[in-house]
């Protein structure tokens, strides 16, 4: 056996141990997500993946795309689930909204989980609806004691209803609120401590925010509860200029930039090897390009694992 392969297997085994610890609330035996780089599966690649079954350690899909009664979309998910460990990533739960949690949305989540028994589930530290009107975007929250209490209660409720631990992702944000009294890392740390949720660390979002708001990303990483990080997201972003000011926008439409790769390495040094996902949502290239990005992440994962082991 080639040494590389063995390291990956070791990394995957340690991921299963992490997974079983994280998943103590789970009522089923999900296929664990290995601590390797997977890719986000989008509609454009469905046919290719089903036909070619490329060697990808795991896949992630947007949960809401499969909130349907039946048909080709669900049949595809069943096929994919037979061949790959699967993670479900939600974008529409509106966890931080002042509106009540949407019972139908949670019921759809539950039904999908029961159907495909995912290795991991995740959502965002965000809101997206007001008074029943949905904006279908991931909007930032003011980091106050009030919103912290609110999000803690909601994450607890979601975890009870889904009988799973959920990983919560940090956003890219373009605006901040004067009323915030906590910083994001503090907010997430308190959320983890009180709700028992996991974290999905999006390193690109962290970098985009650091640039847009002038934060110190290293300090942010040090303040996060590293052991709660169950998954990392990597993606590309775009750069706009407005009147001489630069704004980085989280478009998921290009390769991961060098600064984000560097920050990823620093994050892994704190978290240890965790499942890492390449996300690409606009101007989506061929699967091979996504796999090249995943291979690059795997090299860093192996490096860091060698150091921390």
């Amino acid at each position: 056996m080639a040494p590389d392969r063995e390291i990956i297997l070791t990394a995957c085994r340690s991921a299963s141990i992490i997974e079983s610890r994280y998943d103590s609330m789970s009522v089923t035996t999900a296929l664990p997500i290995p601590a390797c780089a997977g890719i986000g599966l989008r509609a454009l690649h469905h046919a290719h993946v089903v036909r070619e079954r490329p060697a990808i350690p795991w896949l992630e899909v947007h949960a809401e795309n499969f909130f349907v009664e039946g048909g080709p979309q669900l049949a595809l998910l069943d096929t994919v689930r037979r061949d790959y460990p699967l993670s479900l990533h939600g974008v529409g739960l509106s966890l931080g909204s002042a509106d009540p949690l949407d019972a139908q949305h949670l019921a759809d989540w539950r039904r999908l989980i029961d159907r495909c028994d995912p290795g991991l589930i995740s959502e965002h530290l965000a809101w997206g609806a007001f008074d029943g009107r949905h904006l279908n975007d991931l909007l930032p929250l003011p980091y106050t004691e009030e919103s912290l209490r609110h999000v803690i209660d909601r994450v607890r409720e979601v975890q009870q209803r889904l009988e799973r631990r959920i990983a919560i992702e940090n956003l890219s944000s373009y605006l901040r609120f004067d009323e915030s009294t906590l910083d994001e890392a503090e907010f997430l740390a308190a959320l983890v401590a009180e709700s028992g949720c996991a974290l999905l660390l999006d390193v690109n979002n962290l970098y985009v925010n650091a640039c847009n708001h002038g934060d110190d990303p290293q300090q942010y990483l040090r303040r996060l509860p590293a052991s709660a990080v169950a998954e990392i997201h990597l993606a590309g972003h775009s750069v706009e200029t407005h009147g001489g000011h630069t704004l980085r926008v989280d478009t998921h439409g290009s390769r991961v930039c060098d600064q984000v790769w560097a920050l990823y390495r620093e994050a892994l040094a704190l978290t240890g090897p965790v499942p890492t996902l390449i996300e690409w949502d606009t101007d989506i290239p061929a699967v091979e390009v996504l796999l090249q990005e995943a291979a690059r992440a795997d090299i860093i994962l192996r490096d860091v694992h060698g150091i921390t082991a």
Binding site: E64, G71, F130, L139, T144, L175
Partner: protein
């Protein structure tokens, strides 16, 4: 201190305001709000998009979104009010068929995500029922069966403008002109044997299957079809329905 609810009320309102455009950071959010909605609406209504052009479709989507915003974190449902919105806006004018085309597209969309088929009914089950009970039969329709009716030739229009998965329209011809007086077409949409089938039905067939869809017994459905066309052929209609797998079961009323 502003409460969470107040903050979100102000933020949501600002995203629908024209002025969001002037603030680069707010504009990113407005772009997402408009873009995510328009993208899903275009996936659900590719033929309407084709008929009005991409640029105008985006304008239309934003105007529609302001009147009928998304009501769920799951974008699948946003298209439900679109056919009636288009009928309200374009009814009576040059684009009066647009709402009906949208109705057909929404029916297709609903059929694609409906529950999977039950075992299709075969004619043996029908033959087992004594002839004098036939008028009391009620048919169960496949969960994916949807109906759409129009005074315009919507099925022809839909077929000739439907892009494939790469966005290419195969049947469209540059000289395609719509003869609005060509007569109405009704559609019956069903997923059978893994494929989506869109069949054009004449008025009598449509009235027959519509009555069955509303749980009318066979005798009553036949009567309604004969009212539309005294020459309605029940045997042919039944054979077609079984062959195209519209039914999943039957029971005696």
């Amino acid at each position: 201190m502003a409460s969470l609810r107040d903050t979100q009320r102000r933020f949501a309102a600002s995203l629908f305001a024209e002025s969001a455009h002037d603030h680069p950071r707010l504009a990113v959010y407005q772009r997402n709000l408009r873009g995510n909605f328009a993208k899903v609406l275009a996936l659900e209504f590719p033929v309407v998009q084709r008929l009005v052009g991409t640029e105008y479709f985006d304008v239309l989507a934003w105007q529609f979104q302001q009147v009928e915003p998304s009501r769920s974190g799951n974008l699948h449902g946003i298209g439900a009010p679109f056919p009636n919105y288009l009928r309200g806006r374009f009814g009576g004018g040059d684009l009066s068929y647009l709402g009906d085309v949208a109705d057909l597209e929404w029916a297709v969309e609903q059929s694609l995500v409906a529950a999977d088929a039950q075992a299709p009914l075969d004619l043996h089950a029908f033959a087992a029922v004594p002839a004098d009970e036939h008028h009391n039969l009620r048919f169960e329709l496949q969960p994916s069966l949807r109906l759409s009716r129009s005074q315009f030739p919507i099925v022809t229009l839909w077929r000739s403008h439907l892009p494939d998965h790469e966005g290419v329209v195969h049947a469209e011809r540059d000289d395609f002109t719509l003869d609005l007086r060509a007569g109405g077409e009704n559609a019956c949409i069903v997923r059978a044997a893994g494929d989506l089938q869109v069949a054009a039905l004449d008025h009598a067939q449509f009235s027959w299957i519509s009555a069955i869809a509303q749980r009318a017994p066979l005798g009553e459905a036949l009567e309604q079809a004969l009212n539309v066309d005294p020459q309605f052929d029940l045997g042919a209609a039944l054979r077609r329905a079984v062959q195209e797998q519209w039914f999943s079961g039957l029971s005696l009323a």
